[in-house]
């Protein structure tokens, strides 16, 4: 069964450093997302990406965040200057449904900012 894959599974970084989280969505999907979850709490929407541009973003997704789909398979989230409060589990998701209704999530990248 097709699945969303994320790398790395764990990322430890120093405050102020840049990190790139990588995702390979399901191949025929058109809608791509990043969500995050802090300490097993609510899953928070960060950004959606469709037709090679950001379609919607949350207040969390400020100027230190960016997303890119550099080729036909990868989807990345970059955090330019990490802060302690960026520590969380980051989930990539993709959808093939209209407007991205049914989401398929990866297993996540646990980001720890020290």
């Amino acid at each position: 069964e097709p699945e969303v894959t994320q790398t790395p599974s764990h990322q430890v970084t120093q405050m102020g450093q840049e990190v790139i989280l990588r995702c390979v969505p399901i191949s025929n999907h058109l809608y791509f997302y990043w969500y995050r979850q802090i300490l097993g709490q609510k899953v928070e929407f960060l950004v959606s990406f469709y037709n090679n541009e950001i379609s919607e973003k949350s207040e969390i997704f400020d100027d230190q965040f960016s997303v890119e789909r550099p080729d036909g398979s990868n989807f990345t989230l970059k955090i330019r200057s990490t802060k302690l409060e960026d520590s969380a589990m980051y989930f990539c998701a993709s959808s093939g449904d209209r407007e991205g209704e049914k989401l398929f999530f990866g297993s996540g990248t646990q980001l720890s900012v020290l």
Binding site: Y33, K42, F91, K102, F105, S107
Partner: protein, 112 residues
């Protein structure tokens, strides 16, 4: 503001019993509702969905009920099994938007 919340953070049931997980939503503009299951160390997994023009939808061992009058959503799991132990999130979305909003989650424990 937008929010999707759950009444109970933890639910413990006996194996074989039916489970009911409840959720309240506040955004009247939402017209699509979803239940996700999250097992330890994994991302959320789609279980079942329902649109606002429906009151009930059934899947395999799961049923979702939607009461738009009181903005209430529930997930019923029949004959709960140990493999059903997980955190369950309700989520909402509105047509024309790309964002799915998740509730706080209910942890389901299944006792053997």
């Amino acid at each position: 503001g937008e929010s999707v919340g759950l009444h109970l953070p933890t639910l413990s049931v006996q194996e074989g019993d039916n489970s009911i997980i409840n959720c309240a939503y506040s955004n009247s503009a939402s017209d699509y509702f979803i239940w996700y299951k999250q097992e330890s160390g994994k991302g959320p997994q789609f279980i079942i969905d329902i649109r606002s023009n429906m009151d009930k939808r059934q899947g395999q061992r799961v049923t979702v009920l939607l009461n738009k009058t009181v903005k209430h959503l529930s997930l019923q799991i029949a004959a709960t099994q140990p493999g059903d132990s997980a955190v369950y999130f309700c989520a909402e979305k509105r047509s024309g938007g790309f964002k799915t909003i998740f509730g706080a989650g209910t942890r389901l424990f299944v006792k053997a």
